[in-house]
Symmetry: C3
Subunit: 157 residues, 3 copies
């Protein structure tokens, strides 16, 4: 069974789409797939319905500036105060494509494992309790290296 | 024969330069090399001389905002309304380096295979008819995975 | 002994942190690790104490716009005129984490090899004499390919 590890480092809508398209396709074709959400990519797996009270001011500010989940992601280019992002979303729905939040659910159904990285969670003040239920585990850098070592394809997106 | 797959995801001038430098060098040293142009990276392989009439308004707007080919790329940093980009281009020509459009032609001559990704073309409304002749084929995510699986080096730039 | 090559292409604080965390962890766990500093990533290994007189105007301007070493890096997102960057730095020091400049020193102590890429140094006008003493060598694209070919994990960050 071939294996793919995919580090989702970014909260750009376009990179999240690319990540889920690759992860889901690989899973469908029988690959073992692990996605590591780290740094800004942690924003993709925040659950907008889960609010955590944060005592520290810095933590609250970071939390308020990061997107709360897949539906709030914006394009890296051409965002244009929302116009570019909404154009691309419209094109995707006209083409009968899934939204990125739906792609994420689909990837999970296809058997992709979702892992969140512990140290960047500490740095950005993002807690386990505010992540989506689909997160399978929290990992260390050492865990990532062990997964990546035997894999056929390692992407950092 | 070692093999390299390189995903050109970005339309930043600096990342395009890095991509072509690596791809060409690998080809010269006897590697099999496949470059996958996807998302913003599709802008690199648009042919400025090929204009396609687009009916849909969204499609026209996206098309007008993306660079039309390698010569229109700009730096990810220090673009500074064009000043930074032109400084770097001047330095490259003073050092007798090729322009990025010429690097692309050279990569092709060295035997690098150029592939454009179908789904992002759909999303951004970029058509086969507006891409450069050097594109060898249009591929699916599954095709990419098959190429990457046996490769010695897989880069996502 | 497993092997990791890591291309540090970016001068974003967040990507530099990710790179050093992965490189150091791998080295601690017994991997052979080589970091390639290239393009904007060269800024990470500039030594703020070493000033080189540059004759050419373009070269001086590029030099003045790039960060001078790890302590001057800023976030790719949420920089917000320095506020976001300083918030994240504060959080890291509150968590007793090292600064990125200290992480770099630590990586070196753990045995990570530091390599700077020749061609991007030419393009950006960055000279060997202004890089930190910890740089082990200057390399070509061909050298990179030879290192990456046999590696278990190749990251481009």
């Amino acid at each position: 069974m071939p294996k793919l590890t995919l580090v989702a480092f970014s909260d750009d809508l376009d990179r999240a789409i690319a990540g889920f398209l690759i992860a889901s396709r690989a899973a469908v074709e029988g690959w073992e797939v692990v996605m590591f959400f780290t740094f800004w990519g942690l924003a993709i797996v925040r659950d907008p319905k889960k609010r955590v009270k944060k005592e520290e001011r810095n933590e609250r500010m970071v939390a308020s500036m990061l997107p709360r989940g897949a539906d709030e992601l914006t394009l890296s280019h051409m965002h244009m105060l929302g116009l570019g992002t909404s154009m691309v979303k419209k094109r995707m729905s006209a083409k009968k494509m899934l939204s990125v939040a739906e792609m994420m659910k689909e990837a999970k159904e296809f058997g992709v494992r979702f892992v969140a990285c512990a140290l960047p969670m500490e740095i950005l003040g993002i807690r386990r309790e505010e992540l989506i239920d689909e997160i399978d585990e929290i990992c260390s850098v050492g865990d990532y290296l062990r997964e990546a070592k035997g894999a056929d394809l390692n992407l950092f997106i």
